[in-house]
């Protein structure tokens, strides 16, 4: 059962939140081999579920009341430990809940546990978790994508109806694509970053991973909205995305719910090197959107390739600054043996951080250092504006932009470990929207090589999440790719 269906079943009284939560906890434990779950507390979950059931008895309603979900372990929680997938934070207990966690709880959602991810959300395969890699439920010899790989695997394996994730350079969209589920990264500023362990503050955004656009709409409505505790939170009234999903478009006609919708296809998103399996799946989904009334138009994003160096300068620069807080003093790992304060910093950080995190701290420290700032960081920020302007030029002739999420289907576990820098290149299609701060989605678009899922990426202009979700919902009303489930789950 997805989010919407669970809501209906709970409302009907057929099953209670306590019963459903028990059932799902058992499933999570039964599929522990996937490596999706990092922490849970049955007593706490059942306490929350009982409270939700009591609220319902008292006449409370709401689509998320009693809905069991799980959080990426990058959101801090009072009730459960938070590690961000790092040894650095092993055993850390937050004194407060992240805003996203708090808001979902206020809407009645019940926390089943915390989900595995790449260390500090740095990675595209969830193999950078300090605890264990996450397996793709479609093929356990492959990665589920990352960094929100635990969230994606748990939703794809139907262990949870939905999960939270975060996306800095593609960390919601790419794992959603690799596991055949639906995920949305909203506009920068829609979801509060308060209580999200910081990676790159000008890029980090939270969003839901679920089975359908409708489920994502229900969750995003509860997760988003202005929060004074996040200095970059967008000051906008809350939006009812689920209602927008059902509202007919101005240009709609019978059988053509997407009438009048212009979808731009950047030729840079369909390079010759794109896997033919991915290209075919994406073109199949685009043909379906066309049948539903959308018009496909050609657009250009000429700096798509440049978004790789631009992102991999800006994100590590911000990460090196954010991660300087891990000094072994107030929280986090402290080395057992050291000579003095400086040695304690160095040993604690070197023992606590994994290889990819160290690599990015090194890149970030270098590009921010005296004499290199202008050539790297400043130049990257200027190019970032050019990339954002390119999108604005596209949105003069189209309402949405579409393309693949990733150049290939999920790769084999370990395949990228030989050449970590080369793996950055696979982020090419998700980075541009991240740098511009635009909302982006991954929607299941069929299957590629090895019968592995392929995601269609849809990108909209700032704060046009409703347009994104509406188009994705229309596609899912007409297709069944999002309903396919991996065998053995």
């Amino acid at each position: 059962m997805g989010v919407a269906e669970t809501g209906r079943v709970l409302a009907s009284g057929e099953v209670s939140s306590v019963e459903l939560s028990k059932h799902l906890l058992a499933r999570l434990h039964r599929h522990a081999e996937l490596g999706a779950l990092l922490a849970c507390d049955e007593e706490e979950t059942l306490r929350q579920a009982a409270a939700a059931d009591a609220r319902r008895h008292a006449g409370d309603k709401g689509p998320l009341l009693g809905l069991p979900i799980a959080h990426k372990d990058i959101f801090v929680t009072r009730a459960l430990p938070t590690t961000a997938g790092s040894k650095m934070l092993e055993g850390y207990r937050s004194p407060f809940d992240a805003t996203v966690v708090e808001r979902l709880a206020a809407a009645g959602a019940v926390t089943l546990g915390k989900l595995n991810c790449d260390e500090f959300a740095m990675g595209s395969g969830s193999e950078n978790s300090a605890f264990r890699p996450v397996l793709n439920p479609w093929d356990r010899s492959r990665v589920p994508g990352g960094s929100s790989g635990g969230s994606a695997a748990a939703v794809a394996a139907r262990l949870v109806p939905a999960a939270t994730g975060t996306d800095t350079g593609g960390s919601i969209r790419q794992p959603a694509s690799f596991t055949g589920i639906t995920g949305i990264k909203p506009t920068y500023g829609v979801c509060s970053r308060y209580g999200m362990v910081a990676f790159a503050s000008s890029l980090d955004q939270a969003g839901p991973l679920a089975r359908s656009a409708e489920d994502c709409a229900l969750l995003l409505g509860a997760m988003g909205g202005f929060d004074a505790r996040d200095a970059t939170s967008a000051e906008r009234p809350p939006e009812d995305y689920a209602r927008a999903l059902r509202a007919p478009r101005a240009g709609a006609a019978p059988g053509r719910p997407l009438g009048g919708l212009r979808i731009g296809l950047p030729k840079e998103f369909f390079p010759a090197a794109l896997g033919s399996d991915v290209a075919n799946a994406v073109r199949g989904a685009l043909a379906e959107l066309e049948r539903l009334g959308a018009a496909l138009v050609d657009v250009n994003l000429p700096r798509t390739e440049l978004s790789i160096p631009v992102y991999y300068i800006i994100a590590p620069a911000e990460a090196s600054s954010n991660l300087s807080r891990f000094d072994g003093v107030r929280y986090g790992h402290r080395a057992a043996r050291y000579d003095d304060l400086l040695d304690m910093y160095k040993k604690s950080r070197s023992e606590g951080f994994g290889a990819e995190v160290k690599r990015r701290i090194m890149i970030g420290t270098y590009v921010l250092s005296h004499g290199y700032y202008d050539a790297y960081y400043l130049q990257a920020q200027k190019l970032r504006r050019m990339i954002a302007d390119d999108f604005q030029a596209c949105f003069r002739t189209c309402d949405l932009i579409a393309g693949p999420v990733a150049p290939s289907v999920a790769w084999k576990l370990g395949a990228q470990s030989e050449d970590p820098v080369a793996s950055y290149l696979a982020d090419i299609f998700t980075l541009p929207a991240s740098l511009a701060g635009l909302p982006g989605m991954s929607v299941p678009a069929g299957f590629g090589e090895g019968d592995l899922p392929v995601g269609l990426q849809l990108i909209a202009d700032y704060f046009q999440e409703a347009t994104l979700l509406h188009a994705a919902h229309a596609l899912q009303q007409a297709t069944d790719w999002h309903l396919r489930t991996p065998s053995g789950c």
Partner: protein, 99 residues
């Protein structure tokens, strides 16, 4: 100009990281491979382009929001100390700094 091993050691010191010989060599190679990709950036003329530090300023004026200078947090001293590796008498402990 490619980075050298002494560069890697200098960056590691700035980043407060201690790298063993194997890590240093691997990082030297990876960083140089990375900066070869980055060099493409320098070929673009960005004269007159304003840097985009926060994404929404691409389309609108983003002003830093200030709040009243008042206490908004609850006193969570005990909870905040709970995660520290070493505390004493309600204080975080660090190795001796001043001789």
């Amino acid at each position: 100009m490619p980075l050298t091993l002494p560069d890697v050691h200098a960056i590691a010191h700035l980043a407060r990281l201690e790298l063993d010989a194997e890590e240093s060599h691997a990082l030297l190679q990876q960083l140089n491979e990375f900066f070869a990709i980055v060099e493409r950036m320098s070929t673009v003329d960005t004269a007159g382009i304003e840097p985009l530090y926060t994404p929404l300023s691409a389309v609108r004026d983003v002003r830093l929001r200030l709040r009243e200078d008042v206490v908004t947090e609850k006193d969570r001293r005990e909870e905040n100390l709970r995660n520290a590796p070493a505390v004493d008498a309600g204080l975080f402990l660090v190795p001796k700094v001043i001789e």
